[in-house]
Symmetry: C2
Subunit: 109 residues, 2 copies
């Protein structure tokens, strides 16, 4: 049985995973890992419409992944917690294991 607290935790964890479940948002994290950036530059890096990027950023702020500050005309976003980068290490483990499996499959052909 899942306790009510566990249920809440699962929902919160799922929300964070969802905030990372889009290629554009993954790209954003990758771009911001080296330091804060304005929307303009983020949009150029990820190669998407500014308004679209704006919405993706809002999703990530809502999930608690990003914070932002205004500086003149610009709005500058940064990773709220560098620990999110461990996510890529974790996912990397899964991907490596998949590639290994594919390789074994290939050899069996």
């Amino acid at each position: 049985m899942i306790t009510e607290e566990k249920q809440l935790l699962f929902e919160r964890q799922a929300e964070i995973a969802k905030a990372l479940s889009h290629p554009v948002r993954i790209a954003v994290v990758n771009f911001l890992k080296d330091g804060e950036q304005c929307v303009c530059d983020i949009a150029e890096y990820v190669g998407a419409e500014r308004s679209n990027v704006s919405r993706h950023l809002a999703v990530m702020v809502n999930a608690g992944l990003l914070s932002y500050r205004k500086q003149g005309l610009k709005v500058i976003y940064e990773l709220r917690c560098p620990c999110i980068l461990e996510f890529f290490v974790c996912i990397g483990g899964v991907l490596k294991q998949q590639v290994e499996a594919d390789r074994r499959l290939l050899r069996a052909l």
Copy 2:
């Protein structure tokens, strides 16, 4: 600029995150971390319809998170890569940091 390879990587990473972006699927990982289980028991643990759980499991298999084997009437699922559990450590870091921020906010009231 994002290279074509990076783009592919981001898509793959997003896909894995998406497979973890639902409370039921998070619950499944939590249940399976102590060992393989059949659909029946998984459904009871997560508290959802069997057919619904079946679909969630299919999503996770597709993403490469789970593997399964048939044993008589039952189909038994297990984590394909325990490294996925690091995901919770990572997410835990983000959540802790959010709770800290909330606490600071509360003190400021």
